[in-house]
């Protein structure tokens, strides 16, 4: 069947076999955006985290039919090398990734958190940042989240002026 998805600011018409297919596989294998990762397929690790209308969603367990008419954002749409999102800028400054496989999920989850809590406390972070990182980069992730909040605030100040 033919469906239309609004992804990373662009509407795309694609052909899929079954609209119960998890959104993750449509993103990865039909739209060929590989930044969103498969980790467990059961919404248990968060490697596949994306945004749907700004909310963090684990796309491995989210049928594509529920994304119709909504705005999907993946790591590729968060920012790019010329214009990194504050979260990506902070991840660069703190040199967060090791193997890096889980990091797009963490960055997407963080971006969604900052949208709601522009200046999250450590408790906010503990409560909301619940993805799994096997390399154990949590210490730098926490620093980067605080740094991202600063960068976002600075950017906003500049925009306001």
């Amino acid at each position: 069947m033919e469906i239309s998805l609004h992804i990373n600011g662009v509407s795309q018409v694609i052909e899929i076999e079954d609209d119960n297919t998890p959104l993750l596989w449509v993103i990865r294998d039909v739209l060929n955006l590989k930044g969103t990762k498969f980790g467990c397929g059961k919404a248990a690790c968060g490697a596949c985290t994306i945004h749907i209308d700004g909310e963090a969603v684990r796309s491995c367990s989210f049928a594509v039919k529920f994304a119709l008419g909504k705005k999907i954002t993946t790591i590729e749409g968060l920012g790019d090398r010329d214009r990194p999102h504050p979260v990506q800028q902070a991840w660069i400054e703190e040199v967060v990734p090791q193997c890096g496989y889980c990091q797009p999920g963490f960055m997407m989850l963080t971006a969604a958190l900052l949208d709601k809590s522009p200046n999250p406390t450590d408790e906010d972070i503990d409560k909301n940042i619940i993805n799994v990182c096997r390399c154990g980069t949590y210490y730098r992730i926490r620093k980067a989240i605080h740094r991202a909040a600063e960068i976002a605030a600075e950017t906003q100040d500049l925009t306001a002026k």
Binding site: K42, V95, G136, Y138, Y139
Partner: protein, 719 residues
């Protein structure tokens, strides 16, 4: 412009080959069953610093010069997060005399000829390549210099070299300009290397070379690989331990939509379909008859895994053994089955056509993967090109790649490329686990409150014994598993009477390499016991440890990290504001590491606030990434020591998903990790595993101060 032309070079080898090969040679022969020799070999294996065993004779298969005067370094070691690529770029740039940002590191495909016959593992990549890579880069630079002198018609000695440009008087030529058109390279003797002080990039905390790709979601992992006309494969796996394949009814699966072929071999049944979902569905529809042996439970494994069962080998012995005598303190410790749980599942894309195979894979064993695929398909090894990718975590899990063989067999059967990866359930049930262990520690104090005796008896399942990396005969020769014994030695050799005894038990399921091998469990047991003895002696645990460490090079380095960690943390035996400190130390692959954990009890749970790490890896090629490895090991160690545990339920390994398989998350990770790096030798040593040793005991020792309760079982729990 590519400069990859192979050339036979006859001159001295870059390095004397050592490591495991030498261990084998030494052990075979007249001395095979002489126990002191055996112990010597085991001690070597414990402190192993493997030299690089690949091709170090030819700079041309390591480096490519691009037209824009940048270099490509073809790394035979894979990047799995440990930061090796970045360190290699720093090392090569310094001897090539080019800027760090002018070097790009890629994985060497086996077709380039730069094949790593061993593995990426054992924390040996940077230390093993330190000497050969500097020599290769310096030789490459001198080769370019010789050509530059010819092209510029000057004597070599007149040339200045800087940032990839040769200059003399007003004239200059870039490396790329020099390389253009050269077909017959002159190979000089290996030039003298620069002095350490002359290096501009080595020793600097530079950003990772893969940072941007990883922040912007570039398709760099095995899971991201694709080939044209690719199909999807799936392989049927049993859920029960020890299940043996009897027969399969594939009729239903064959007729399902999207199924291209069902591939039935002697040792596996796979299905190939035109989509991932179709392959998975068809796999579920295959009815397999398994022959299943006895149904095991966790308790059966614990009973089996008990000191006294199986065969023992004394791996370390000094003075007399303890008997049943007065004043002996004895404690027992246990560690559970641990899963790798790396987030990127094992996967592969294989394409077999016209007696040639291409294998794109996240692997730690490039050469072994090639060998196994070639052997199964009856191909020449030269006709199998293994293309490694970035790894979404390695941790030892990717030292076994039978799935590459299965994918290749399926691809050959359908004549198209096949992509195949594990489901998460398969990852958990068919992991090659960290084996469970049991330890019996015994000690006795003298009148001065110092240890007169210290004994470590421990039992472990296999770590290296069943691995293609270890020659099959080796375990028999040395009588112990080279992986299980890591960290199992007594490092307090001032104790007059000490010994360490390894017991081997064969488990009914596969266990193997898990980051740091035996170090995590062995250090937990020995270092918890050291604190117990310090308390019995009425001594400060830091001073108690220092009093038992030998005044030799290894001993001094160990003492230094213990003192550095204690000083930096402001170590105290007092409980302050409900927080206590615990200390522990270990030496792994010649890298000593000490950690102090600051802990409280909150709502009945162990809360780790801060961990201070002091480590002496020798030269830190990239201090920021060495610190990153320390931070990562602390968190992975906390995860393993406080949260993780696989169970055996009715013959099945469980749980099979994150969540139920408890792991450390953000809320469990310490908010502060402070790392102090010492440099006690003039070369780089192991980094990626040594910091996993101390954390379990450091936390348990702090908990004892808070509760008076000695925790002896991992994962640590107060209930």
């Amino acid at each position: 412009m590519s400069e990859k032309k192979k050339k036979k070079i006859s001159r001295r080898k870059f390095l004397v080959r050592g490591g495991l090969g030498t261990v084998g040679v030494l052990a075979v022969g007249a001395y095979v069953f002489r126990n002191p020799i055996r112990r010597g070999v085991l001690n070597m294996a414990n402190s192993m610093e493997l030299s690089y065993l690949g091709n170090t004779d030819n700079p041309m298969i390591w480096f490519e010069i691009e037209a824009n005067n940048s270099f490509v370094l073809h790394s035979p070691k894979v990047e799995m997060g440990q930061g090796t690529f970045t360190s290699l770029a720093q090392i090569a740039a310094d001897e090539l005399d080019i800027s760090f940002d002018k070097i790009k590191v890629v994985h060497a495909a086996t077709a380039t000829g730069n094949i790593d016959g061993m593995s990426t593992g054992g924390s040996t990549s940077v230390s093993g390549l330190w000497q050969p890579l500097r020599e290769l880069a310096a030789t490459m630079r001198e080769m370019l210099k010789l050509e530059a002198a010819k092209k510029m018609e000057v004597d070599v000695s007149e040339l200045n070299t800087k940032d990839g440009v040769f200059s003399v008087n007003e004239k200059s030529l870039s490396y790329a300009q020099v390389a253009q058109g050269v077909t017959n390279w002159e190979i000089p003797e290996t030039p003298a290397l620069k002095k350490i002080e002359e290096y501009k990039f080595i020793g600097q905390p530079l950003a990772r070379v893969d940072l941007m790709d990883k922040v912007f979601g570039a398709p760099i992992f095995g899971m991201d690989a694709e080939l044209p006309n690719m199909l999807y494969g799936a392989v049927v796996r049993p859920t029960k331990i020890g299940a043996i394949f009897k027969s399969a009814d594939t009729t239903k699966a064959e007729n399902m939509p999207g199924v291209v072929s069902v591939v039935q071999e002697d040792d596996f049944v796979g299905v190939v379909a035109n989509s991932l979902v179709a392959a998975e569905n068809a796999k579920q529809a295959i009815e397999v008859e398994w022959e299943t042996p006895v149904s095991l439970q966790t308790e059966d494994i614990i009973e089996l895994m008990t000191v006294g069962n199986g065969k023992s080998t004394i791996i370390q012995k000094e003075g007399r053994a303890l008997k049943d005598e007065q004043g002996v303190v004895e404690l027992e410790f246990r560690s559970p089955i641990g899963a790798h749980a790396q987030i990127e599942p094992n996967g592969v894309v294989a394409s077999v056509e016209d007696n040639k195979a291409t294998i794109i894979i996240s692997t730690q064993v490039i050469g072994i993967t090639r060998k196994e695929v070639a052997a199964r398909l009856g191909l020449e090894e030269e006709h199998v090109n293994v293309i490694p990718t970035y790894l979404g975590g390695g941790f030892g899990r990717r030292l076994h790649t039978p799935h590459a063989v299965q994918a290749a067999v399926m691809s050959k059967a359908v004549g198209k490329p096949v992509k195949y990866f594990f489901t998460r359930k398969e990852e958990f049930q068919h992991d090659l686990f960290r084996p469970p262990t049991h330890h019996k520690l015994r000690g006795k104090l003298n009148d001065q409150g110092l240890l007169e005796n210290l004994e470590h008896h421990f039992v472990s399942g296999d770590v290296g014994n069943n691995s293609a990396l270890i020659p099959g005969i080796l375990p028999t020769i040395i009588g112990a598993d080279v992986g299980a014994i890591r960290g199992g030695f007594i490092q307090y050799s001032k104790v007059p009477n000490y010994r360490s005894v390894y017991w081997h038990v064969q488990l009914p399921f596969a266990t193997s390499w898990w980051r740091s091998l035996g170090l995590l469990a062995n250090t937990f047991a020995i270092e918890s016991f050291m604190d117990e003895m310090a308390i019995k002696a009425g001594k400060n645990p830091v001073e108690f440890r220092l009093a038992h460490i030998q005044d030799d090079e290894a001993g001094r380095r160990l003492s230094n990290v213990i003192e550095a960690a204690a000083n930096k943390a402001g170590y105290t035996d007092e409980v302050v504001d409900g927080r206590a400190m615990g200390i522990a130390a270990s030496t792994d692959a010649n890298t000593p590491c000490a950690q102090v954990a600051e802990v409280s009890i909150e709502e009945g749970n162990i809360k780790i606030h801060k961990v201070t790490v002091a480590m002496d890896p020798g030269i830190a090629v990239n201090p920021d990434q060495v610190k990153a490895q320390c931070e990562g090991c602390v968190n992975m160690g906390i995860s393993a020591a406080l949260h993780e545990q696989m169970f055996v339920e009715n013959g099945e390994l469980r749980p099979v998903i994150y969540g139920p398989y408890k792991m450390a998350l953000m809320r469990h990770a310490p908010k502060e990790i402070e790392v102090v790096l010492l440099q006690g030798t003039d070369k780089p040593g192991a980094v990626g595993e040594p910091p996993l040793g101390p954390i379990g005991a450091a936390v348990a020792n702090a908990v004892f101060k808070l509760t008076g309760k000695r925790l002896t079982t991992l994962p640590l729990s107060l209930s």
